[in-house]
Amino acid sequence: MFLKEYFKTVYQTISSLLTGMRLTGYYFTHTKEIITQQYPETKPVLADRFRGEVIMPHNETNEHRCTGCTACELACPNGTIKIVTKNEINAEGKKKKAIDTFVYRLELCTMCNLCVQACPSDAIIMSNAFEHSVYDRRLLTKVLNKPGSKIMEGVE
């Protein structure tokens, strides 16, 4: 009786181990099914919506759509965005508020997308960039509006 139990356990042990080993052997011989990505050599293809960094798109004539309304600054939960505005005199000689600098601190950003959702004039979007490492953390504080850029015609 005892012996029978003993051999049963031995049999179960060996068969359960072999079942597992069969699977391992399968993948050992079917290397095509292994899906490792060789990361730095082949770059991953990320989805369009992947949120990697906030950017402000500019057109060919160095114009952006940001009016300096600070809605994004208010929507941001952790103070990543700081907008400095200035007063500009436009063509008709009227004073108008415009952005001076759009400061974006990548090291604080949690990629939550709330600023992009809050922007009434679609001036900022999320880009796919994900390789953010730098040697100096000061490089992570960015100014999103390009030097010399101005607001697009017709954006209010």
Binding site: Q12, T13, S16, L17, T19, G20, R22, L23, T24, I35, L46, A47, D48, R49, F50, R51, A75, P77, T110, M111, C112, N113, L114, Q117, A118, M126
Partner: protein, 371 residues
């Protein structure tokens, strides 16, 4: 404190596991009293990853506060966001569109599967088997890709917003989810072949870390850990939210109460989640994915509570509002904290090596415990 460490007067050894220990999956610090190799007492020391999320939320608006909950139980971040949105919607008495409800539930269940997959791989690794980790990540990657396409993130989604969801579904969503379901259905047997049936695994989990149903209830263990002791505690069944009252699925319970029972609950739950997704994926209604809401949300004076079933158990979100744009107080009832409180009961009398199996099957996520 320092004098207490080392040995005590009965000759027991007192050792620290963590806060930096590979098998605690995060910064959990356990002070363990050992008699030989037998565990006499386990005392968790918390606070290493406390970020005062509850206090922080008091200064965030109702649109902002939920993104932080992705960082609590990061493996069910989508479900955490869901709980927050439900509480805010209760306050606003907002009806959310049918399409948004379908999207939310499908993604909830995908998150649950992804979480259980990661748990499965990590548990096997704790018990000394390294390859299962890769197999589970292979399938989890498919879910992550779906999430990335639709939500824009792989882990910290912030996809659910009060009133619905942030974007509409990606055009490929249904196709990809169906591919995943077909693929995972044919692969889940590999999980059983590799680990469930394995004799070493069974010997290390059967009869280990036992807790009775009564004790599980009195510790407030919920989720698969509670259901492993036969405690019917699935919020989706008891207090259905969104579409769960219209869905056909089984609440998985096991009577064993040991580590193996908790393991089996999760394995079987993955099948149930796939079953739920199958019921929904072909019938997603057309329409809006977000209800119309004001730019600044204001909740009326009062308190609002919502509860959901995350991959680890019951998450409760309690909002006290004074009528302003920010909450007066937010309290999270996190599943991990209650489940951890039972650890002493589970581990005492067992061996030190069994503690890893016990802890692994409780499926602790430390940021969820500390918040």
């Amino acid at each position: 404190m320092l004098e207490e460490l080392g040995t005590n007067d009965q000759g027991d050894m007192i050792i620290n596991v963590g806060p930096q220990h590979p098998s605690t999956h995060g910064v959990l610090h356990l002070v363990i009293t050992l008699h030989g190799e037998t565990v006499k007492k386990v005392e968790p020391h918390l606070g290493y990853i406390h970020r005062s999320i509850e206090k922080m939320s008091e200064s965030l608006s109702y649109r902002q506060f939920s993104y932080v909950t992705s960082r609590m139980d990061y493996l069910s971040s989508h479900i955490n966001n869901h709980a927050c949105a439900l509480a805010v919607e209760k306050g606003l008495q907002l009806e959310i569109p049918g399409r948004a409800q379908y999207i939310r539930v499908i993604l909830d269940e995908l998150t649950r599967i992804a979480s259980h997959q990661l748990w499965w791989g990590a548990l096997a690794m704790d018990l000394g088997a390294f390859t299962p980790f890769f197999y589970s990540f292979r399938e989890r990657e498919m879910i992550n890709e779906v999430m990335e396409e639709t939500c824009g993130a792989r882990l910290t989604m912030n996809y659910i917003v009060p009133g619905g969801v942030m974007f509409d579904l990606h055009p490929d969503f249904q196709k990809k989810v169906k591919i995943f379901l077909a693929e995972f259905k044919s692969k889940i047997h590999e999980y059983n072949e590799l680990v469930t049936g394995n004799i070493i695994f069974q010997n290390r989990t059967k009869g280990v870390g036992y807790i009775s149903k009564e004790n599980a209830i009195s510790y407030g263990m919920t989720g698969p850990s509670g259901r492993g002791s036969g405690f019917k505690c699935d919020v989706r069944k008891l207090h259905p939210y969104e579409l769960y009252d219209q869905l056909k699925f089984e609440e998985i319970t096991e009577e064993g109460g040991d580590a193996f029972a908790r393991y089996m609950v999760r394995i079987r739950e993955m099948e149930q989640s796939m079953n739920i997704i199958e019921q929904l994926i072909d019938n997603i209604p057309e329409g809006d994915f977000q209800a119309k809401t004001k730019a600044v949300l204001k909740l009326p004076k009062g308190d609002f509570y919502s509860r959901v079933e995350t991959a680890r158990g019951e998450l409760g979100v309690y909002i006290v509002s004074e009528g302003g744009t920010t909450p007066y107080r937010i309290k999270y009832r996190s599943p991990g904290f209650s489940n951890l409180s039972a650890l002493n009961d589970l581990a005492v009398g067992g061996k030190l090596g069994d503690l890893m199996a016990t802890m692994g099957t409780l499926d602790l996520v430390i940021p969820d415990i500390d918040r």
